[in-house]
Structures are given as structure tokens and as C-alpha cells.
């Protein structure tokens, strides 16, 4: 059977034409999947999905045109070329998603890689159908050939376009989908060595190649789990204008509809449209209770927005900002949009920026006590963050405060995470603080809560700094009243050895996502 047979007119039974039509169906599905993967992935990573899909589809289709045109330069050994082509598509298309994720994470030339990959896959896919038609041209009448191949090509596309959003994305995700279809493509190659055997000559080497490609893709599938986290973090609705993986987190700035947003590990930190509500509420009530404060501590808040509010008080002589991530404070200093929003607050001579874990820093670094402290950490969704909301943290914090110091703590949403909110209050009380919780509406977050606290009893602030955008004396007083659906609930104290808050918080927020 494995005799070498020269290409040319052959009697009909030598090729299995109906089965080859079936491969058209499969390769059409694979081709569309690669296109969808590239389009989806670029929308996730770069935002602006219409632009991304438009350019990806355009480049892909034009590359297919290029491939079709190039097919005329292939003359001999078409069957062998076809199998090689399948393997090439399998490799480039199959690894396209992992390649693109890596390019986004580790290079500055993501778009070059994106369009390069789309171009390569498109060109290779464009070669497939013309070559297959030429292989079949002597076996099937031309009108049957064109009708059959194009019908199956479009039906394959339908299969893929339905499978992709309904089954593949939900169950497998981008990386596994692209690898799986690469594997399918390579399988078509292997299968073709059987279907085209009469035209191929010796098939051992070529089958070995198929096996190697399939093995590579299979190994890729096994490792695909590593990429899933990266994908989860990349669901943004708007255009990404800044993205950086620091040693601690992924920092992303997106822009849309006249405002911009900061995300840390995919969680919204502020929107420029309404952050003033949040930061005014965090900062000014504490100043109202302790006017004339000179030394101010800010834990977290590396975006510099709380500092901006603090510096509105002329008596302030020193602000110490302790934020874990130099990537964050550098961005707050250097990224033009953020720098403009925080008024270059971090470069003010009164401000000292320290990049350290606030809890470790408070515990281990001696220094004069602070008059005010603002605690503005991300919500407690991990144990490493949860420790910053424990009674131990508040005790350590108190050791660094003057006796009449006031603390304001961001304490998540009293509406969406009611138990978590009151857990923070209860924990602060357990550490010996007198606590007065309050809340306001921040449209991009929802109803948001804070806790004002001091070692001594104190009155709800009556007068805030005049000239603010949101807070007035009346609005300030109103923040301290809790409607019925946010009233206090009994909860356990969050301690280092139980970290109940992390469990409460993740359970409560799961309902809203």
C-alpha cells in the first residue's frame, strides 16, 4: 500500500472523498475558534471589544486571503503539504491563547504579537481549503466540489460559533479551548495521513510528526491551569490605559465615559467620577473630631487620593503613608492621570512614603505617635489582607497613636456585606477603641461604610472643613445614622487565629457577583 504514487489523475476509489469533506467541517471549526479566541482575548486584555473584534476579524480574513493567494505557488506533493499545514495550524492556532497571554504579561509589544499570530493563523487557514480542493479536484465534479467544501466550511463555522460561547468558554476557558482545537487540528492531520495514503508515499515520518505535535499540545493542556488565574483577572469593560504586574498585585487603569478606574487584582479601587465622595468621607470627619492634627498616618491608600484630602488641612505637618506596593505608589506619582487626580500629593514635602506591610511596619518601627490615622486597605478577601482587620492590628495601631488620636477605617459595604461591616466595628471595639460607624453612597461602589474611632469617647463630628465637593455639616451628620437594612448585627470578633472576616466577606460578596 505504501508505494510512492506520482500525483495526477487517479481512479475515484483511491481517495475517501466524503471523509475528506468531513475534515473540511473540522478545520473550518478550528479556524473560527482561533479567530474567536484572538478576538475575545484582545477584548479582555485591551478593552474596547468592538475595535478589537473588528481588527482581529479583518486581519484574520485578509490573512486568509493571503493564504489563498499563496496556495497557487504550491505545486507538488499537495497531500504532504496539506498534512504539514494542518500541523502548522495546530501548533500556531493551538498555542495562540497561551502565547498571547504571555506576550501581554511579559512584553510591551502585545499588539505586534497579537496581529502577528492572527496573521500567521489566518494565512495558514487560508491555505487549507484551496489545497484540499485541488487534492479533490480530480475525484469530484467541480460544482459538487465547490458546493460541498463551502457548505461544510460555513456549517463548521456555525458549530464553532455556537460551541464557543455556550460550552467552550464556560467549561474550558480561552487557553484550554485554543489548545484543544489545536489538538483537533493535529488529529485531522493524522487522520488525513490515512485518507490521503495513496498520495502520500511513506507515512511513518509524517505520522511521527503528527504524534509529536499532538504530544506538545497535550502537555500544553496539562499546564493550562497556570493561565486560568491570569484570565480571571482580566475582565474589564473599558479600555485599559495602564497595566502592570507588581510583585504583589496586578494594577490596571481603565478609561471610559469621561472617567477612569483603578483595579487591583481585578477589584475596583476607585473611579475618578466619584472617588471624592469616598475620600472626603474617609478623611474629613476624623479631622473634625481632632482638629489641628499635625502628624497623620495613612495605611494603604497608595493612590495618594486620601493624602490629597489630608493636605487640605493646613495644620498638618507630616503625613506618613505606608503602602505595601512600590508599584502602586510609583504609579500614583508618575502616571499622568492619577497624578493629576491626586494633585501630585505624594511629592508634597510633608509626605513621606514607606513601602512596607503596614502591620509589620507598625509593629517593628518605633517613632513618635500620630494624631490621626486613616486605614484604607483593600477589602479583606484574602488572609493576608484579613490580618489588617484583626483586633491585633487595631491594638498595634493604638500603640502608635496619641491618647486623643482619631482613626478612620474603610470597612466595606454595610449594605452588601452587612456582617463584614459590623464585624470590623466589633473587632475595633474588642481592641479597646470607641467606635462610631458611618456610611455614604459612592455610586461606583454602592453604599460604603467607614468606622471612626478613638481611645476615648467622642461626639459625632458636627462641622467639617468648608468648601468640599460632597461633605457639608448636614451631610456629615446624616452619615452616622443607619437605616434598618444596615443596622448592627451580632458578629464574632476578627482575630488573627480565626480570621472570621475573610470567610464572612467572601460569603457575603458571592451573592452579588
Amino acid at each position: 500500500m505504501a508505494n510512492s504514487i506520482p500525483e495526477g489523475p487517479l481512479p475515484t476509489p483511491t481517495l475517501k472523498a466524503p471523509l475528506l469533506f468531513l475534515s473540511v467541517l473540522l478545520i473550518a471549526s478550528c479556524g473560527l475558534i482561533y479567530e474567536l479566541v484572538a478576538g475575545t482575548l484582545s477584548s479582555y486584555l485591551l478593552g474596547d471589544s468592538v475595535t478589537q473584534f473588528s481588527t482581529v476579524i479583518g486581519v484574520y480574513l485578509s490573512a486568509m486571503g493571503l493564504g489563498s493567494w499563496l496556495s497557487k505557488f504550491l505545486h507538488r506533493g499537495l497531500a504532504r503539504r496539506f498534512v504539514d499545514l494542518e500541523l502548522a495550524v495546530a501548533l500556531v492556532g493551538g498555542f495562540s491563547a497561551p502565547i498571547l497571554f504571555m506576550a501581554f504579561a511579559h512584553t510591551h509589544a502585545f499588539r505586534v504579537v497579537l496581529y502577528g499570530v492572527v496573521m500567521a493563523v489566518g494565512t495558514l487557514v487560508g491555505l487549507e481549503i484551496p489545497i484540499l480542493m485541488r487534492i479533490l479536484k480530480d475525484q469530484v465534479r467541480f460544482k459538487d466540489l465547490v458546493a460541498g467544501v463551502l457548505t461544510l466550511d460555513y456549517i463548521g463555522a456555525l458549530f464553532a460559533s455556537l460551541l464557543f460561547p455556550l460550552l467552550l468558554m464556560p467549561k474550558l476557558g480561552l487557553v484550554r479551548t485554543s489548545l484543544l482545537f489545536g489538538l483537533l487540528n493535529a488529529a485531522v492531520g493524522l487522520w488525513s495521513t490515512h485518507l490521503l495514503q495513496s498520495q502520500l508515499g511513506p507515512t511513518r515520518m509524517i505520522r511521527l510528526r503528527c504524534a509529536v505535535v499532538m504530544a506538545l499540545l497535550a502537555v500544553g493542556l496539562v499546564f493550562a491551569g497556570k493561565f486560568t488565574l491570569a484570565i480571571e483577572e482580566e475582565i474589564f469593560a473599558d479600555e485599559i490605559v495602564y497595566a502592570k504586574d507588581s510583585a504583589y498585585q496586578r494594577i490596571v487603569l481603565t478609561r471610559g465615559r469621561g472617567s477612569f478606574q483603578l483595579f487591583l487584582n481585578g477589584n475596583l479601587q476607585f473611579s475618578s467620577a466619584d472617588e471624592y465622595r469616598y475620600h472626603e468621607a474617609l478623611v474629613h470627619p476624623a479631622f473634625a473630631v481632632r482638629p489641628g492634627a499635625k502628624r497623620v498616618l495613612i495605611c494603604g491608600g497608595g493612590d495618594g487620593l486620601a493624602v490629597r484630602e489630608v493636605l487640605k488641612h493646613p495644620a498638618v505637618q507630616e503625613v506618613v503613608l505606608v503602602d505595601l506596593d512600590p508599584g502602586m505608589t510609583d504609579m500614583a506619582r508618575n502616571q499622568p492621570m492619577v497624578r493629576q487626580l491626586n494633585g501630585a500629593a505624594l511629592d508634597d514635602p510633608r509626605v513621606k512614603v514607606i513601602n512596607a506591610d503596614a502591620m509589620v511596619w507598625l509593629q517593628e518601627t518605633p517613632g513618635p505617635p500620630f494624631d490621626l490615622a486613616f486605614v484604607d486597605f483593600p477589602d479583606p478577601n484574602t488572609y493576608a489582607l484579613g490580618k489588617l482587620y484583626t483586633s491585633r492590628f487595631y491594638r498595634i495601631l493604638q500603640r502608635r497613636l496619641t491618647d486623643d488620636a482619631v482613626v478612620a477605617v474603610q470597612s466595606t459595604s454595610p449594605l452588601m456585606a452587612r456582617q463584614s461591616f459590623w464585624c470590623i466595628t466589633a473587632t475595633m471595639e474588642a481592641s479597646g477603641l470607641k467606635v462610631r460607624p458611618y456610611h455614604l453612597a459612592v455610586p461606583s461602589f454602592g453604599v460604603w461604610g467607614f468606622a471612626l474611632a478613638s481611645k476615648r469617647d467622642f461626639e459625632v463630628p458636627a462641622h467639617v472643613l468648608p468648601g468640599l465637593r460632597h461633605l457639608s455639616d448636614e451631610a456629615t451628620a446624616a452619615m452616622f445614622a443607619f437605616p434598618k437594612d444596615m443596622e448592627r448585627v451580632p458578629v464574632e470578633v476578627n482575630r488573627l487565629d480565626n480570621q472570621v472576616l475573610v470567610h464572612l466577606y467572601t460569603r457575603e460578596w458571592r451573592r452579588w457577583s
Partner: protein
């Protein structure tokens, strides 16, 4: 004609593209959010099967890209004892009490004597640092334990431990119900434990994922049985299981457990669930250096029942420090002050008229030392006692029944933490499919969640023949030890090797006494705690259980025996 039709095709292509795009643009918002939701749900299921399937084909390379060394105990010096024949020193210094051994038992004895105002004592420790298996180390990253690294919070009846913790500032007071309140920074921080199985980390030590209904039933049935024992009180009101064991009931029904191995007891109660048995076997390896079939059922149940806050309640929380129980050692050694002599090995103890003559070798200054002591507290292990105290083995044959499991402990200093997914880094991190016990993170308790850290990795040698296991451990050089550690951790942390700044290894020849069936309640074994003339004995192995509380209890007992011999009427600290 040809160019015309080509143009038509071109226009057709453009139109098709725009229809496609139009439809897409309408759907896109919905589509993206759909995918987003789908991904969130997927998180729980995927990623499990992946990593475990990778074969460990890449065998270790001959060398490691990081330095390290084998550190103490001083094997040649210790074994030199067996040679015997040490000439006497020039003079014998008089002393009231000489304590041989500066581990928990010896230091606790010193603590007790000093507490009673008996100041004239000396503590001799063979190693350059005191603490025995509670020793700790320290480098530029963190302090770290070299062996014992936690203490379950004591119940209110454990006066000795409460007294110690109060002195250390860890016991802050008592709540309204009279229960002790401990400093938050010393209670083991959550998350406490995680388990690596099926290529992924899971919360807790008992693997709930994939457990069958029968597994769950047996798990609960076992802990009901533990509760039953936790509730047991004998006619005198003593519990069956308590820490230290001197507070335990000697009622026959409890003692009967000691005649069986834990494995046989489990078989007899129909506990066959592989997950449950893994957990219990892990407990035996972790606390006793033995396996289900070489551990007494009494000891197996003791592990769980003695730590219960009460029947049906949770296990007691644990107290821990970055340096492990080295924290407690630091306090105890302060109470001994300059009476603690490290690097000094007692070579013989012999009676002489109304006192004891003790000879010793000062390894630091390379000279012979001698003491004439009224009383000696021998706070070393029995296998050393038989070489030091002449004729002891013939009058106390039970001492040869004590078997100590060897351990290998490694401290890995890491430049940064490995990347991983699943349940996050905990205090205690255990690999299910491993002979080792996993590792403890020294920086966990000091709240450092980022950057460099030190991991302490533990491996008991649990084979039935301790001597053979010890010989095996002694034959291992540093590369062999390092290889054992890295091979063990590779499945969970394939990228670990590049993160290790150094890896130091402690080979403990006699780390832990094994509570073999029949040992713990054997009258001859229990009689080993009795004094031999003016020599009093204190060591955790006299309990048959290697625990801080046991060592401390024996130290206090021996010290109080001495105080009684001096005619001091003291209220017991025990």
C-alpha cells in the same frame, strides 16, 4: 470580466465582514459578561487534575544552586561517651544540685529551683545551645525552629504551663468564665493548615474533597469516640486523657487501650476509611515518629482527646512563635542565668560518701571539669544515662525498652515565595503523598506575607527498627539530605529550587520517644521516673510521649523531689 467578478467578490467580502461585525457589536456586551460569569464558576472545578499528572522524570541534578550545611547535634562528641575511660579532673567543685541536660526538662528543673530560691545549681548542656528538641535558630530573614514549634493552649488545670506562659506575657488573664485568655499574637494565625493532594492545596488536614458518605460517617464516628474518651472521668474524677499525662486516670479501661496498637484498635472499631487512617497515621508520625501499627492505641487517642476543650468541642487552639518553642526556651534559660553551661558533657556520675561525683568534658575549652553535688537531676535521655551512671542499666532494665525515632529537620531560607494557586500558604503545609510531614512557615506568625521567608521541613524516620533508621540517617551527607527535601517538595513547588537561598539540615538521632504498645503503662517503665539514690530523673521520654508539657512536668517533679529532700515545704507548681 475576470477583474469585474473579482471586484464583486471583494465587495461581497466587505459586506460580509460588516454584517458579522454588526451582529457581534450587538452581542458583545452580553457575551463578555457571560464569559466572565462562566470563568468565575469554573474556578472551583478546574486546575485540580493538572499538575499531579506530570511525571517526575527529571531526576535531581548532582549539585544544588544553593549552599547549606549539616548543623548539630554533635554526634562524634555524644558517641565518644560510649568509649568510656575518662580520667578525673584536678578538682571537684561543690554544688547543691547539678542538672545534666539543658533541654526543656533540665531548664524547667532549674526554673523551679530558682523559683524556690535554691540558687546553688548548675545546668550542663552538651550542645552549644540549650533547648534540646525545642532549639531554634535565627538568620537575617527570621528566627525559626529546629524541632518543636507549638504548644496547645493549656487547660486551666495545667498550672505549670499557665505559670510559664504568664511569666512570658502570653497568658493575659482569665475571662469571666475563668478560662485563660492568651495574647493574640501567640495564637496560631489562620489559616493554620493546608494539604497538598491531587496536584492542589486544600484547606485543613482532612481532605474533604472527594470524600464518600462512608468516609464522612467514619470521620464523625471517630471523633465521637474521641469525645467519649474526652468526657471519661474515673472514680476519683481524673480524666482518661489530659496533658501532662501525670494527670491522667490509671483506670483499667483506659489503660487497656495501651495493650493494642492504634491500627488494631481502628480495625476493631471498623475505621477503615483511607482518609481517616491517613489523618491518624499523620498524627502518629507527627507527634510520635511512629506509624499506626507501632503506636499504642492509648497514645493515638491521647493525641486527640487530651487536646479537646471539652466533649463535643473543638481542639484547643495552638500557641506558636516564629522561633517555635525556642521562645519558651529563651524564657527558661533566663531563669537559669549563668548557671547554664553549654558545650559541657557529663561523662560520669558516681556516688562518693554523702554526695555524687560528676565528671564532665568542656568541649569549648577542651578541659576536664568536676563537681561534687549533693543531688543530681539527670535531665538527659535514658540511653545517655546508662553510659554516664555506672551500673544503672542492670538495676533498671526497663530503660532499654525506650526507642527513639530519628528525625531530619531542614530549614530552607527562601528569597521569595513560590507562585501557586489553590488554598493560600498556611502555617503548617502538609503533602499527602509524602513520607515527610511538610513544612511550617516561620514568617507566618510574624505576619510577613510577602518576600523572604524560612520554611522548616520535618521528616521522621518511621521504620520499625529505630537503630536501622538511625544508621540510615547518619549515613546521609548534606547533598543527600538536600535532595530528600527538594524531591519531597517538588510536586507541590516545582519552582522552589530557584528560590532557595540556603538549606540547613539538622539530623536528630534520638528525636522522639515512640509510645509503642505496652510501654506507657508498664510498671517497670513508669518506675524509671523514680530516683536512683540521689540521682533524680527528668525527661519527656519518661512519659513515653515527646511533648513540651511532659518534659516540663518531669523537670518540675524532679526539682520538687530535690526540694523535698532539702526539707523545703513548697507548694507544688504542677
Amino acid at each position: 470580466m475576470r477583474s469585474g467578478s473579482a471586484l464583486l467578490c471583494g465587495i461581497g467580502g466587505i459586506c460580509r465582514f460588516f454584517y458579522f461585525l454588526f451582529i457581534y457589536a450587538i452581542c458583545s456586551f452580553k457575551f463578555i459578561s457571560l464569559c466572565g460569569l462562566a470563568i468565575m464558576k469554573r474556578r472551583d472545578f478546574l486546575a485540580a487534575a493538572a499538575a499531579s499528572a506530570i511525571p517526575l522524570a527529571c531526576r535531581p541534578k548532582p549539585a544544588f544552586p544553593f549552599p547549606g550545611e549539616l548543623v548539630g547535634p554533635d554526634l562524634p562528641l555524644g558517641h565518644w561517651l560510649r568509649g568510656g575511660a575518662f580520667p578525673d579532673p584536678d578538682r571537684f567543685e561543690p554544688v547543691s544540685v547539678l542538672i545534666v541536660g539543658g533541654g526543656v526538662a533540665g531548664l524547667s528543673a532549674g526554673w523551679r529551683l530558682a523559683g524556690a530560691g535554691l540558687e546553688d545549681f548548675q545546668v550542663l548542656e552538651l550542645e552549644p545551645e540549650p533547648g534540646g528538641t525545642s532549639r531554634s535558630g535565627r538568620n537575617h530573614v527570621s528566627p525559626f525552629p529546629w524541632a518543636a514549634h507549638y504548644l496547645p493552649v493549656p487547660d486551666r488545670g495545667n498550672h505549670a504551663v499557665l505559670r510559664l506562659l504568664k511569666e512570658c506575657g502570653v497568658l493575659e488573664g482569665f475571662d469571666a468564665k475563668g478560662e485563660p485568655v492568651f495574647a493574640e499574637e501567640a495564637t496560631a494565625r489562620a489559616p493554620e493548615e493546608r494539604l497538598f493532594a491531587y496536584g492542589q492545596w486544600w484547606e485543613g488536614l482532612y481532605l474533604r474533597a472527594g470524600a464518600s458518605v462512608e468516609d464522612e460517617r467514619q470521620y464523625h464516628a471517630f471523633f465521637r469516640e474521641v469525645d467519649r474518651w474526652a468526657a471519661f472521668k474515673d472514680a476519683q474524677g481524673r480524666p482518661a486523657f489530659s496533658i501532662p499525662r501525670s494527670r491522667c486516670s490509671d483506670a483499667p479501661e483506659a489503660r487497656a487501650l495501651d495493650s493494642l496498637s492504634f491500627a488494631v484498635w481502628l480495625d476493631g472499631h471498623g475505621f477503615s476509611s483511607p482518609r481517616l487512617r491517613w489523618l491518624l497515621d499523620y498524627a502518629c508520625r507527627d507527634d510520635y515518629g511512629s506509624r499506626l501499627d507501632t503506636t499504642s492505641a492509648w497514645a493515638g487517642i491521647f493525641y486527640f482527646a487530651a487536646r479537646k476543650q471539652g466533649p463535643g468541642e473543638d481542639s484547643r487552639p495552638l500557641l506558636t512563635w516564629p522561633e517555635g518553642n525556642g521562645f519558651l526556651i529563651d524564657h527558661l534559660r533566663r531563669s537559669c542565668g549563668d548557671r547554664l553551661r553549654c558545650g559541657v558533657m557529663a561523662t560520669s556520675i558516681r556516688p562518693d560518701t554523702d554526695s555524687l561525683l560528676v565528671t564532665a568534658w568542656d568541649a569549648t575549652n577542651q578541659r576536664r571539669l568536676g563537681w561534687r553535688a549533693k543531688r543530681v537531676i539527670f535531665a538527659g535521655p535514658q540511653h545517655v544515662a546508662r553510659h554516664v551512671v555506672e551500673g544503672l542499666a542492670t538495676v533498671r532494665p526497663a530503660m532499654t525498652r525506650i526507642r527513639n525515632a530519628p528525625w531530619l529537620v531542614a530549614n530552607l531560607t527562601l528569597r521569595s515565595r513560590p507562585k501557586e494557586s489553590g488554598f493560600p500558604l498556611a502555617w503548617d503545609n502538609v503533602l499527602r503523598d509524602s513520607e515527610a510531614l511538610g513544612y511550617v512557615v516561620a514568617t507566618h506568625q510574624s505576619l510577613r506575607d510577602h518576600g523572604p521567608t524560612v520554611w522548616t521541613w520535618y521528616r521522621p524516620f518511621t521504620g520499625p527498627d529505630c537503630d536501622a533508621e538511625r544508621a540510615r540517617l547518619r549515613a546521609m551527607d548534606w547533598p543527600a539530605c538536600a535532595r530528600m527535601v527538594m524531591d519531597d517538595l517538588r510536586p507541590a513547588h516545582p519552582d522552589l529550587e530557584g528560590l532557595v537561598a540556603r538549606l540547613d539540615v539538622m539530623r536528630w538521632g534520638h528525636a522522639m520517644v515512640r509510645p509503642a504498645p505496652g510501654l506507657l503503662w508498664d510498671p517497670d517503665f513508669l518506675a524509671l521516673s523514680k530516683p536512683h539514690g540521689a540521682i533524680h530523673f527528668a525527661h519527656t521520654e519518661l512519659s513515653g510521649l515527646a511533648l513540651f508539657e511532659e518534659a516540663q512536668d518531669h523537670g518540675l517533679r524532679a526539682a520538687e523531689e530535690v526540694l523535698a529532700a532539702y526539707g523545703r515545704r513548697e507548694r507544688s507548681w504542677r
